[in-house]
């Protein structure tokens, strides 16, 4: 199945990926080819077949709630591109107002 450029842009927006026009064109072609290949699954009868989300026979795994030492704050922040006042620092959520 062939994806349109707009569909590819929509997927990129859902995935929070900034893509160039060249990338959009490339992924349009490549994703279409891969989805074409995947379409062969449609021919398989899966009525009454339950989906496999995990291969494990697990239902719910419980353990005692034992307090342990948390990661020290300075170690948690050590890898942050920007940290100030013991917090992760990020740009504003809303764009700065135009003058």
């Amino acid at each position: 199945m062939a994806l349109t450029k707009d569909e590819v842009r929509h997927i990129a927006a859902l995935a929070h990926l900034a893509l160039s026009d060249e990338e959009i064109a490339l992924y349009q072609e490549q994703l279409s080819a891969i989805l074409d290949y995947a379409a062969r699954l449609q021919a398989i009868d899966t009525s009454d077949v339950p989906p496999t989300a995990t291969v494990l026979p697990l239902v719910s795994v419980l353990r005692e709630d034992v307090p342990t030492e948390p990661l020290p704050r300075d170690e948690a922040l050590a890898n942050a591109p920007d940290a100030e006042a013991n917090c992760f620092f990020v740009p504003p959520v809303l764009p700065p107002e135009k003058a």
Partner: protein, 485 residues
């Protein structure tokens, strides 16, 4: 034999006899790395100082009369396994400079067993690939032919062990990423039962499939390493509580009488190189000579492994990789708003294959397509599992080729993602079924490139798999060959 050519059990025996120290061994390996690394480019980070310090500690412990399963053995770690205090990048720009504040459980277990960690090996970015060409930094070269790929995604680990730059290495296998490079580099590579080894600290790609596994020079080394790696971990709720068997003791004496070996008729298909088919068929004859009963089995949904995997793994990846947003670690793009920061960090930080799979997975999970793609793939995954359940009612192990081809040339498959995905055609279905499988050397093609035999077993039956592999290895000499560099 040179020190860098030793197996782990040979080196361990020599150290226990007092004929070799860990410092001598580690120095020899570090010298080997210095000599051949410009050719193979197997490592992203070599931690020489830390390794020598760990070697000195190992020697001191041994001198004080203490013994541990891996005491003093120099081992490399794939760069998607977290190492406390040592940069861990997944071979991605988006994690460049990231230094984990903790060890992955399998790394912690190796250290506790006395292993000397040499450094971090190259890989396809976020373990997405079959050639290590998707590393954001540089490709790794196959020690058997430097013009060819080592396989992937654990290609750095495989090349390091094959080239004598480590005695063994840890890799991770999501759809074949330990077994396929083991096959292409002439090594033993193990994918454990899903949940046998902890995934804690393994930077997630596809959580229902990821498993750490060893790459070694022979089967005994693989069993030795698996005993250390495997076991329940309270920090990974998907690990099995069943006790870990003594895999080394289970290797046995090489007699396979009473054992049934399944050969799926679907595994010898078009696209399998003649030399590969010939070597695998000949290996099956050897298993019969050792007393095994050869039984033809059928895995009718084998062909669906590829499309099922390439829907499920990208879907899980698209969710797992959402955490890379430029806030808490790694690369951050310049941006005026938070949303722009997310988009640009991810657009600039991820490489082409990672973005392709995030896009594919996002699409397969998106409104209107979820049932047709993701749910459908999960249903066919059930059919793949049922195929194996049925086959294992008749046989103890299933054998076949690991890879349809020997090592291909660098650049040969990079333009066509589907061509690259086909490299994994024989390793995907075991991963989807959650069963253990290993690859071990079973011959060489006309060009002198290694060929791998794959042996798969039912859930938690690693011991049976090792027994068959060890019997075959004892009857052959493929594992004794080393590449000349």
């Amino acid at each position: 034999m040179e020190l860098h050519e030793l197996t782990m059990h040979q080196a361990l025996a020599a150290m226990r006899r007092g004929e070799l120290t860990s410092v001598e061994l580690t120095e020899a390996i570090l010298a080997r790395i210095e000599a051949v690394e410009p050719k193979t480019r197997a490592y992203l980070t070599v931690t020489a100082e830390r390794a020598l310090e760990a070697a000195r500690q190992a020697d001191a412990l041994r001198a004080a009369g203490e013994e541990r399963p891996l005491l003093g053995l120099p081992i490399a770690i794939k760069d998607n396994l977290s190492t406390r205090g040592v940069e861990t990048t997944c071979a991605s720009r988006i994690l460049e400079g990231y230094v984990p504040p903790f060890d992955a459980t399998v790394v912690e277990r190796l250290k506790a067993a006395g292993a000397v960690i040499l450094g971090k090996t190259n890989m396809d970015e976020f373990a997405m690939g079959s050639s290590t060409e998707n590393s954001a930094f540089f490709p790794t070269h196959n020690p058997w032919d430097l013009e060819r790929v080592p396989g992937g995604s654990s290609g750095g680990s495989a090349a390091a062990v094959a080239a004598g730059e480590a005695l063994a290495a840890l890799g991770t296998d999501t759809g074949g990423s330990v077994r396929q490079p083991a096959s292409l580099c002439g090594l033993v590579g193990v994918r454990p039962t899903y949940g046998r080894c902890s995934r804690y600290g393994l930077i997630a790609f596809a959580s229902s499939l990821d498993q750490p596994g060893p790459l070694t020079r022979d089967v005994r080394d693989a069993a030795l390493l698996m005993e250390v790696m495997a076991g329940h971990d309270p920090r990974d709720a998907t690990t099995w509580r069943e006790p870990v068997p003594d895999y080394v003791a289970a290797l046995g004496e090489g007699d396979l009488h009473g054992l049934r070996v399944g050969v799926p008729k679907e595994y010898f298909v078009e696209g399998v190189e003649a030399a590969v088919e010939q070597a695998v068929r000949s290996a099956i004859e050897t298993l019969a000579d050792l007393g095994a009963e050869i039984v033809e089995v059928s895995l009718p949904h084998s062909e669906t492994g590829l499309p099922v995997y390439y829907l499920i793994a990208p879907a899980e990846a698209s969710a797992n990789l959402a955490r890379f947003d430029g806030i808490r670690y790694g690369y951050r793009a310049e941006a005026r708003t938070l949303e722009e920061l997310y988009f640009r960090t991810r657009g600039e930080g991820f490489g082409p294959e990672v973005k392709r799979r995030i896009m594919l997975g996002t699409y397969a999970l998106s409104a209107g397509y979820y049932d047709a793609y993701y749910r459908k793939a999960q249903q066919v995954r059930t059919l793949i599992r049922r195929d194996f359940d049925r086959a294992f009612e008749q046989v103890d192990v299933i054998v076949g080729p690991t890879s349809p081809v020997t090592a291909f040339r660098l650049g040969e498959r990079t333009d066509d993602p589907l061509q690259m995905y086909l490299a994994d055609i024989f390793t995907l279905s075991q991963a989807l079924a959650g069963i253990p499988a290993l690859s071990l050397p079973c011959g060489f093609d006309e060009a002198g490139l290694p060929i791998g035999l794959q042996i798969a077993a039912p859930v938690l039956r690693e011991a049976t798999m090792f027994r068959v592999a060890y019997a075959y290895e004892q009857a052959t000499t493929w594992h004794e060959r080393r590449p000349t560099l």
